[in-house]
């Protein structure tokens, strides 16, 4: 696989669910120096702001979403002492309890991995053009989270 192809696998927006183990292996295979891996996994909760939620649909801006996620990966690799960072975000219909978003930061030391992972998910939430439609018993609503 070329570097470009590998990098594409490290930043993805996809409809299908993902295996965390498989994504960890993708990160791990990039360096034998990795000793600390910090992972964030966002999942679909059954309520939001006091409302019951039956399911969620994510819509994204194809092209711009990937571009922003690539920027986040590149800035994380530059600004933190990490060896690799992977981002996967799902779109389409998501059932309660299912995976939505995954960030994996691999570093020699755990403190760097935690910092990069936390920064990346905060940044993702801020700059990535992805929208969330919550299906509730009283109808559908486009929502934004206030973290």
């Amino acid at each position: 696989m070329s570097t470009a192809e590998q990098n594409e696998l490290l930043v993805r927006v996809q409809r299908e669910d993902f295996s965390v183990d498989a994504e960890i292996n993708r990160v791990r295979s990039r360096s034998r120096r990795i000793g600390g891996i910090s992972i964030f996994l966002g999942t679909a909760r059954d309520h939001s702001k006091g409302r019951d939620v039956d399911g969620i649909t994510f819509e994204h801006y194809e092209g711009m979403a990937q571009k922003k996620l690539r920027e986040i990966r590149e800035r994380a690799l530059k600004d933190f002492d990490i060896l690799e960072l992977l981002i996967v975000h799902r779109y389409g219909e998501i059932t309660i309890g299912e995976n939505i978003v995954l960030i994996i930061a691999g570093a020699e030391h755990r403190a760097d991995a935690f910092r990069a992972c936390k920064w990346a998910i905060d940044e993702l939430k801020q700059i990535t053009p992805i929208w969330k439609l919550e299906h509730t018993p009283s109808g559908e609503v486009w929502v934004e989270e206030h973290p």
Binding site: F58, E59, Y61, G63, M64, K67, L124, K125, Q126, I127, T128, P129, I130, W131, K132, L133, W142, V143, E144, E145, H146, P147
Partner: protein
Amino acid sequence: MITVRLFGMTKSLADNQSSLTLALGKNQSVKNVIELVKKRYPKIGELIYQKKILVSVNQEIAHDDTRVQEGDEVALLPPFAGGTPAGPR
């Protein structure tokens, strides 16, 4: 003519169209695009003025004076799932 892509709430406000086609003259900016959108969908125009909807040009957040010309990729971006974007960077 330029095409303005719509997402999420913005799409709902525009009768579920996923894009608008606007007749835009030469030497125009985002400001002119907003005026054209506002004429057809006043509610969207209002949300843009309130900075609740951002405008992107070629996949980067734009401001009022950003130039727009034939072939540019313009989009109206309602608040992201993760929270309101921080505006032009």
